[in-house]
Symmetry: C2
Subunit: 441 residues, 2 copies
Amino acid sequence: MKNSSHKSGAALQSNAPIHDWTATEIAASVNARTITCEAVARSHLEHIAAREPQVMAWEYLNPDQVIAQARVYDTAGISGPLAGVPFGIKDIIDTCDMPTQMGSPIYKGHQPKGDAACVALSRKAGGILLGKTVTTEFANRHPGKTHNPFDFARTPGGSSSGSAAAVGDHMVPLAIGTQTTASTIRPASFCGTFGYRPTHGDLRCVGVKEASGSLDTLGLFARSIEDIALYREVLTGSSTPAPIAEPGSAPRIGFCRTHLWSQLEPQTQTMIEGTAQQLARAGARVGDVTLPAEFEGIEDAHRWVSSFEFSRNFTWEIENHFEKISETLRNNRLKDGLSCSFDRYREARELLARCRLLLDPVFDKYDVLLTAPATGEAPIGLNATGNAALCVIWTSTHVPAVTLPLYKGPNGLPIGAQLIARRNADRALFSAARWVWNQCN
Amino acid sequence: MKNSSHKSGAALQSNAPIHDWTATEIAASVNARTITCEAVARSHLEHIAAREPQVMAWEYLNPDQVIAQARVYDTAGISGPLAGVPFGIKDIIDTCDMPTQMGSPIYKGHQPKGDAACVALSRKAGGILLGKTVTTEFANRHPGKTHNPFDFARTPGGSSSGSAAAVGDHMVPLAIGTQTTASTIRPASFCGTFGYRPTHGDLRCVGVKEASGSLDTLGLFARSIEDIALYREVLTGSSTPAPIAEPGSAPRIGFCRTHLWSQLEPQTQTMIEGTAQQLARAGARVGDVTLPAEFEGIEDAHRWVSSFEFSRNFTWEIENHFEKISETLRNNRLKDGLSCSFDRYREARELLARCRLLLDPVFDKYDVLLTAPATGEAPIGLNATGNAALCVIWTSTHVPAVTLPLYKGPNGLPIGAQLIARRNADRALFSAARWVWNQCN
């Protein structure tokens, strides 16, 4: 793709190709009957046809099925908050009319009976499901076939690899992934998209293959913060989505390096520190936040909670299809989980619960925290999906997170800035994120 | 069934029919090779053949399939904590070799690809899945065909109707249900079984149709507290189940009538008050517990949380099969849920979270709370499953609960006593429950 055409969050010229539009722009045009669903679908499908041989974002995509759906919508005169908006769904999420293969040979050709709640809500809002996006094996570490759309020699990140790459490459304006560790925020950062992990429990996960229920959430990918906010509203079942509220004043921003700061590449440190200074100059009250010492135990606790739950959740697959499970999965999460006693698991779970309560007072002083979503640019190679550590604290404490595609790294590849808010403050997070975005663009 | 043969929790004579044995007794005999899995299965199947025409506990049961499985286990020389133990599974829980029909015509004949985690863990431990037990429609209120085994004119309770009736009628020693409101504890009380709802999040729900994830748990039915403890260990993935620990001293028991006490039938009040006095005489420190005023808001908050989540979770069914959904479900939980905004839902969810924290200090003074599982005997009629209110506080606060089949009501029908412990204190709950059981028998 031409990076110079990448205008995340900015209103586009009406002569821009439809596949460069945001979801908000597409839905407005379809609802106003100034464009057809079929035209929208065709623009995206043509772009995909040109790009997919290199990007490989899709596990399943049938253009005829998409066009047929678009025509049904056009004939019916579809309207709704996502009217005519193409979207992609990570392939661990059930779809009634497309296979769900989980990135695993165990589920080759598997056709679920119904749609996951998030898919049905997207369709109810007028969205057009384009296809299933590539996932790592069971949303774990063993990678799929997807390449980073900004450099084919690099990983798109994982586990929501195809969703991130498809949105980053303008193949769809919206996609759904999931996050148990860093599986939305990290690939969003690597692929130059906005990424959002909601407050744990906010968005229904029925029909999504569970990795670790204590940690799992959906994750959203889009090319503007307005689209992220719109999609969240749709997925909470709202038929009249509320727009992002204007913040009354510049947000109070806690700059939170965390004890993992030294894992960042120096340029990433410099860019995020520069943003903190820039936002202070723009009127935000910016202060440094140091988390309590307990938070240094989160990475270990996350490991035991996620691996214990994962290894029990996948008992049927382990007992009946062990030979089809990758060495990566067997030797890491499964080995950890099957060796973990319930008592060890419970202790780890309790540490995470304590840290949730310890984090609350931080947000009495700050509206959002500014931190890194990843260590830097997407690493070279397709055999691994990058360092997930920067997201573990936030995933484990159930707080909402967004990453904004603010930077280009030393190789010209995207890097994001992550903002975190208090649990249940997702809408306030969007307000602050838009303010930050506007200051930096 | 002959009520006089109902010896819950007591060691049985070796000449008792095998279908009257507990799971612990069956597994010990199979592991010792003093009985075959086939003999165990045949005893249960013969009892079922005699009783099922009246009780109607089963949605799916294929005797040939069961015998074939038993012979495979016998040939292989199966061993394990549930070796040869027949178990039943509520029909909202996926099974790879039996349909899962959810008590709804929408899922008629539906065959899942894999086993739910709880089914796979049961089989891994040597258990023999007998069949699928009747559920109300989607584990909600619209009843299935099951009758109370102690009086066919009465409800078995719901939503885990068939699991409770099957265990209460000695058709299986173990069954799995679920609980979102009272769906395990209430039918266990009505059907004279031990019932157990674990700490929220302890037992994996992968492959179980979610009603309301913030509230849902598995629920276990058995005819002894030892069997409940054994099955919990199996479902946490332990291959060497820990036995119930002896309490160091008589437990401290908080007698908690709750603000709903007036909903109980007078005889139920008298029986539970009698137990509180009896336990005090036996050496327990017994005191009255009054919950904070916030707890009176739980029933309303539970209504909004459960209905909001349910109505989003079932978007695919609502949008594609609305005509196949019962009037009961449409006019209650779905109507509530679809009218509930996200803000109202979030406020309700936050009230429940506050109550969880408010309940913790109660357990600094008491090891367990003694309370009622239901208002009294199972009511007459099969069109409703009884009053669920007595369980709402405990379900909503995520604490573990057991009901013990301690009483016979004015019509000779079973009534239970419910014990509650602190979150994560499930094993201590079993210790206290066994002490209580032993004092009362």
